[in-house]
Amino acid sequence: MVFNTGAALLDAIVLAVVSKEEDGTYGYKITQDVRQAMEVSESTLYPVLRRLLKDECLEVYDMECGGRNRRYYKITQKGNAQLNLYKTEWKAYSSKISMMFAGGKK
C-alpha cells in the first residue's frame, strides 16, 4: 500500500479487529489480523494498544493458557462507540475520495 495510515485509522483498525472477538484477543493475534489489511511491524501495535487501554477503549484481563497467563484485550462500551464513530467517518471519507477518483476519470 502506498498510502500512509494515520494514528486514528490504525486505532480504528485495531478496535475493529478486537471487537470481532467477543471474549477478547491477544497481542500476537491482533498483529496477525491487522496484517490482513496492512503491513505493520511487530513493535507497532504495543503503543497503540497501550493508548487504547489508557483511553478506556479497551480493557485487559489475564487468562491461563498452557501453563502461563496470557493477556487478553477486549473492547469496552466506550471503545465500541469510538469504533462506530470511526466507521461513520471512514464511510463518508472513503466515499468522497472514491467519488473524486471516479469523477477524475471523465
Binding site: N4, S41, P47, R71
Partner: protein
Amino acid sequence: MMNRIEFMKKLEMLLQDISESERKEAIQYYNDYFDDAGVENEGMIIEQLNSPEKVAQTIKAGLNEEGENGEFSENGFTDSRFEDKKEVINESKSDQRNQSYTKQNETKKDDTLKIILIVLGCLLAIPVGLPILCTAGGLLIGFVSAVIGILIAVLATTVGLILGGIGLIGVGIVKMVAAPPAGLVIVGGGLIMLAIGILFLLLSIWIMTKAIPYIFKGITDLFRKIFNKKGEKAV
C-alpha cells in the same frame, strides 16, 4: 543474533527509566508475543523487531506523545521528531517492493562499513592504546605504593616518638633523683616527644580511616567510569 532471553533481558534493562508498571506491561506484552508466535518464529520476530534498543524507543515514544504525533504506515511508525531513526520499525517482512528492498540493503551496507571502521579503529588504537594503558597502570601502582610508603613512614615515626617520649620520661624521673633541674628538662623533652607522637598517631589513624578509603573509592570510581563508557558504546 541474540536469542529471545537475551533480547528480553536487554529490553528490560533499557526500560529501567520508565515506571515499573509501564515496564511490566511492555515486558508482559512481548513475552506473550514470543510465546504466542511459537519457538519456530522466534528468530523471525527478533529480526523484525530489529533490536531491543529500537523496541524500547518505540515504547518510550508511545509513553511520551500519547498519539498526537507521528504516523503509522505499512512500514511502521514514522514520527518527524525521530526522522533520523526512521528505520527503527521500518523493516517490513515480506515487502518485495524495490523501494524498501534497496533501503534495507543500504542499511546493511552501512552496518558492515561501520563494523569495518570500528575494527580498523581498534587495530590502529593498539600501538597507542597499549602504552597508554601500561603507563596508566604503572602510575596507579606507583601512586598506591607511595601512599603505602607514606603510611609506613608515619606509623614508624609515631611508634618512635611515643616509645622515645616514654623512654625519656623514664630516664628524666631517674635523673631527677640525682639532679632535679636536668631531670625536669629531660622529662619535659619526653613529654613534648610524646605529644608529637600522639599527633602523629592521630595522623596515621586519619590516613588509615579516611584517606586510604577515599583514594580507593576514587580509583574504583575511575574504573567504573571507564567501564560505563565502554558499556554505552556497546549500546
